[in-house]
Subunit: 144 residues, 2 copies
DNA sequence: TGATATAGTCAGTTCTGCTGACCAATCTGT
DNA sequence: ACAGATTGGTCAGCAGAACTGACTATATCA
């Protein structure tokens, strides 16, 4: 199976990582978290984030983000607190259960990086990351 | 914005490519093709492919594939013809409209590869593809 | 102060995928 | 040769995740 295009090659490994994280989190007992909920929860900053901020970073509409935050809130992973600086806004903050699951997810992320490094070797892994980061200049419309 | 994990870095560029292909195809007048329809149509072999085959290659269930082929058929991109070798099976073949759009899509794919190569340089692009291909060994559960 | 922009929600819809149940044809082992 | 298992495919029903459009409340700026 030769010449897959480069984008597909990336997609294969990216999806593998996402699936692996989701499965690990689920197996650790947090099985009421959907992939989309996880993706958005991963964006929440230490001091809390606004729904609109989360939406921007996850590249979805604020309406979609709002629904996902609802679900996260109902499941006890996050809380909405009023933003002291702006009465229109709320800050979405991690609840204790949210912090727990974040740790699990981060642990798996590190394990994946380790596995990939073991397979490729440290130098090729470094070059891979460097190249991918460089590529963002022309592929990431947000490029934080 | 530093240290995104490697999988996310891949996802950013992969999605950029998929969006670009879908937009180009849509702009070329094939605007009744959804991304999922495009993804499955891209798998159709010259001699035609079975629904189950398409499903396997696109990593979706045969039921989902069947629905997508329905839509493609209704929109005139493909035809279902009986398989002479197996009375249970049908072969999904590209209709003229399907061939047209395939050419457009392939042209965009090549343009993307060119753009990425221009940005990264030929040698880094080669190494990138090589590394990604190598990584499939541990991230692609199918690995054709 | 009035016009405009921003934060967020509500309602409704579309797309994409899933599971389960089923039918018809083919293949296999005795 | 034929009963049972496997394979190709469809139908029906459902769920998750995204979208657009319309709306309210607050902030900001000219």
């Amino acid at each position: 199976m030769a010449d897959l295009n480069s984008a597909l090659l990336m997609f294969i490994s990216a999806r593998s990582a996402e699936t692996r994280i989701h499965e690990a989190v689920s197996a650790a007992g947090y099985d009421d978290l959907s992939p989309a909920m996880g993706r958005i929860a991963a964006q929440i900053a230490e001091e809390g984030s606004r729904v609109t901020e989360l939406a921007d970073r996850a590249r979805i509409t604020k309406q979609s983000a709002s629904v996902l935050v609802d679900q996260l809130e109902r499941a006890g992973y996050v809380a909405r607190v009023p933003d002291p600086a702006d009465a229109r806004a709320k800050r979405v903050t991690l609840a204790p259960r949210g912090r727990e699951v974040q740790q699990v997810a981060r642990r798996v992320e590190r394990a994946i990086e380790r596995d990939w490094t073991r397979h490729l070797g440290a130098e090729r892994m470094r070059v891979l990351r460097e190249t991918l980061t460089d590529l963002r200049a022309i592929t990431d419309p947000y490029a934080d």
